[in-house]
């Protein structure tokens, strides 16, 4: 397959079909999926409305997006996540820089972060409710503790992997600590930090929204769980579609900004 492509390119002939086979397959897969969905919805094999028709979902999507109420909830969630990223991100960055700078601190404390990092954060939600109340505070806190870990660990790892020569250059210019941080360390750590922020945003989003579905009275997570409680399936699908578009879009955007390929997750 690949060989034939190379050969036609070498021959200099634009022997390509109008539509690339990959595009064709993609379109076919999407159309097949949608058709299968619609067939399942019409067939009545599942309970009514569990798989709503495409038309119903489309209408719910339009209704949701044209409803001013939705934007209030979107704003709430956005505000919670932004604040969580600010709190968790800055504290994560500071802790990461400290751990990266000092082998002793890193050996003493990083192992805690390393093993706490992948624990399911949502189980801390009852504590956040106790500490910060049932309002947006506890959701922001969930987001902040979620994004703290990947950002701290990535910053610490990134700092250790800085090429020694950069540090020598900084020293030979007699840079002070602040100059070292802003001119040498942070620019050299750009990729791991951006990657940490990307991972952090992903988990902050999850932490905040899951907390909203568990106990809240506003936010997108609240809307989703309300749609579930009242069995408004098309609306629930519409909200989930919007959420996924936002989440994947934000992830791709940060990856693009930082020049990090978005596939790597480990």
């Amino acid at each position: 397959m690949a060989k034939t492509e190379v050969m036609t390119m070498r021959a200099g002939k634009p022997a390509r079909p109008l539509v690339r086979p990959v595009t064709l397959l993609r379109v076919a897969l999407v159309v097949g999926l949608l058709a299968g969905w619609q067939a399942l919805s019409v067939s009545g094999l599942l309970y009514r409305d569990v798989v709503p028709s495409l038309l119903a979902i489309g209408r719910a999507l339009y209704d949701t997006l044209s409803n001013g109420h939705f934007y209030f909830h979107l704003y709430t969630t956005f505000y919670e996540i932004a604040l969580a990223m600010l709190i968790g991100g800055i504290s994560g960055l500071i802790v990461g820089l400290l751990l990266g700078a000092s082998p002793l601190l890193s050996k003493s404390f990083e192992v805690y972060l390393y093993y706490l990092g992948p624990c399911p954060k949502i189980i801390f939600f009852p504590l956040m409710l106790l500490w910060f109340g049932v309002g947006p505070g506890s959701k922001t806190a969930m987001g902040a503790i979620s994004c703290f870990f990947p950002i701290a660990l990535n910053a610490a790892g990134g700092m250790r992997e800085i090429d020694k020569i950069f540090i020598s250059v900084g020293r030979s210019f007699r840079a002070n600590t602040w100059q070292m941080v802003t001119k040498i360390y942070l620019p050299a750590m750009r990729y791991p930090i951006v990657n940490g922020i990307r991972l952090g945003l992903g988990v902050a989003l999850i932490g905040t929204l899951l907390a909203e579905t568990k106990l809240s009275n506003r936010g997108i997570g609240f809307l989703v769980i309300q749609a579930y409680d009242f069995f408004r399936m098309p609306e629930m699908y519409a909200l989930l579609i919007i959420l996924f578009v936002i989440a994947i879009g934000a992830n791709a955007l940060i990856g693009r900004l930082g020049g990090v390929e978005s596939v790597k997750r480990a």
């Binding site: 050996k107 404390f109 706490l116 189980i123 790892g157 579930y228």
Partner: protein
């Protein structure tokens, strides 16, 4: 993140510093709460939390709950292994399919799939099927991607050895490709299984059904504050032990190069 094994092999000073700081923090907390500077209904005495641990294990059947969560995780984990490796192999075999869908799989790997849990509740109902399905969905994408990466990065010389022995496609796969890809597949399995486990405990908590996750939910609903802290501590300890175990297992299973 790869430095944990190095951290584990260090002399006593960092261990004392880390452990000492943690113990010091607990002692200060104990003092602050017992002096009434902090509300014990928000932050209980650390000693009360530790005292609540046996209660969690004995009265709340924490071990039975652990077994339930573990069985859910095992079921989902087996499904993730089988489906993930099979789909990865499929995408490797049919390159056009890979070109069409690899970015989609990568997108689902970074998508917040756990937010789909209300949808799974509707489809499967509030039972273990939902929990297993959520765990499966969470762990699948990394296994597919890493399996694919493992197959695609197999050295050409190995494939040529297979060809020169006139291996059938089936033999070529099982004797050459699969063993060569195994280390990368293990990395995918480790990531995937951790996601699975995370999501299973999280969903148990969210839908208040099943094992360890529900334990926390129940203690919180009863306003048993030391019990809630103890339950969370218990789950965190179990997860940390499991992460260490998975890491050891991966290192032990990985073929030595």
């Amino acid at each position: 993140m790869r430095s944990a094994p190095a951290i584990a092999r260090t002399p006593a000073l960092p261990f004392i510093l880390g452990g000492g700081a943690f113990a010091g923090f607990l002692i200060i907390l104990e003092l602050v709460v017992s002096l009434g500077l902090m509300n014990p209904f928000v932050v209980p005495l650390p000693t009360d939390v530790i005292a609540a641990l046996p209660r969690i294990v004995l009265q709340e059947h924490a071990l039975a709950r652990f077994m339930l969560t573990a069985s859910e995780a095992l079921t989902a984990g087996v499904l993730v292994c089988v489906a993930g490796i099979a789909i990865g192999a499929l995408l490797y075999r049919f390159d056009l399919l890979r070109q069409a869908t690899e970015t989609w799989v990568a997108a689902t790997a970074s998508a917040p799939t756990v937010l789909l849990y209300p949808l799974f509740l509707v489809i499967f109902g509030r039972n273990t099927a939902t929990i297993i399905a959520m765990g499966f969905v969470a762990g699948l994408a990394p296994v597919i991607l890493k399996t694919l990466e493992g197959f695609r990065t197999t050295r050409g010389v190995l494939l040529n050895v297979g060809r020169s022995f006139n291996l059938t496609p089936w033999q070529q796969f099982w004797k050459i490709l699969f063993p060569a890809a195994l280390p990368t597949i293990f990395v995918g399995l480790r990531i995937g299984l951790i996601f699975t486990l995370l999501n299973i405990v999280g969903v148990e908590f969210l839908i208040n059904f099943g094992g360890l996750g529900q334990l926390i939910n129940e203690m919180a609903d009863r306003f048993d504050v030391p019990g809630t802290y103890a339950a969370i501590l218990f789950v965190v300890l179990i997860s940390v032990l499991l992460f260490i175990l998975i890491e050891r297992l991966e290192r032990w299973l990985r073929p030595k190069s």
